[in-house]
Symmetry: C2
Subunit: 132 residues, 2 copies
Amino acid sequence: MIRIGKLAHQSQVSRDTLRFYEKHGLITPSARTDAGYRLYAESDIKRVGFIVSAKKVGFTLNEIQQLLQLEVTKDIKSCQDVKEFVDHKIQLVNEQLTETRRIKKSLETLSEACCGGDEPATQCTILDTLNR
Amino acid sequence: MIRIGKLAHQSQVSRDTLRFYEKHGLITPSARTDAGYRLYAESDIKRVGFIVSAKKVGFTLNEIQQLLQLEVTKDIKSCQDVKEFVDHKIQLVNEQLTETRRIKKSLETLSEACCGGDEPATQCTILDTLNR
DNA sequence: CTTGACTCTGGACTATACTCTAAGGTTTAT
DNA sequence: ATAAACCTTAGAGTATAGTCCAGAGTCAAG
Ligand SMILES: [Zn+2]
Ligand SMILES: [Zn+2]
Ligand SMILES: [Zn+2]
Ligand SMILES: [Zn+2]
């Protein structure tokens, strides 16, 4: 059983973040000392690792909470359930990708139409376009 | 000079949003009635149009504030200034694109490794990977 | 036995972009 | 004249993901 500072160091997150995750139901220390210090067991440490890994692949905290539900109840969940969850996330990411690409294109079109010269921007096509 | 409701309708934003923009220094009505009602002139209407257009191509409100500065002082700004601003934004968008692509790849790798079958997820490669 | 390192709680603050509510005043149409 | 529609303000709430702080208690070492 380790205390919060050590877990924070090991997991590369801040103490504040661990307490924040706790407040949002992502992780709860298995025990407390008499003085009220949080004590984390092996399983808690693993759980934090899970959260960190899931963050790295782009899941939000809300999604991670759902993933943790799947993990904890994996006996009564199927690979299908898990895969569907990930595939749904991929769809969301794809939508975001499409939107970001659209924005990139718009900006590039804007940029390409502008001469970028030294003259005053009174006739700048970028400003003109935004003014339409 | 039109009132907020009409401008909101014309510009396809809510009254609340217009007041929100005002609070954040993006637009100020040219006048007020005796009763304190906001009155918007032609130039105000154009300015809202500018904001809406800029939003559509992905600028944040903060960036739009800077763009409006460029627009207002276009006499003493050059096309170069404007283009550089846009090009800098394109860089930011590209970074976001790179990150989102990385996430997509990670998720796809995750998904592809999972059989997606009916059996319990006790050995699911997705959960295993996140637990590492 | 005191100093420094560590921990606790609750709450405020950051950034982004609104959205909604309450309580009240104004304008317009019938 | 009165009801509907419109407007005002301040402030709270939403979602996301923390970060920081104050004031106080705890623990190990010299
Ligand atoms: Zn030019
Ligand atoms: Zn230009
Ligand atoms: Zn499987
Ligand atoms: Zn699986």
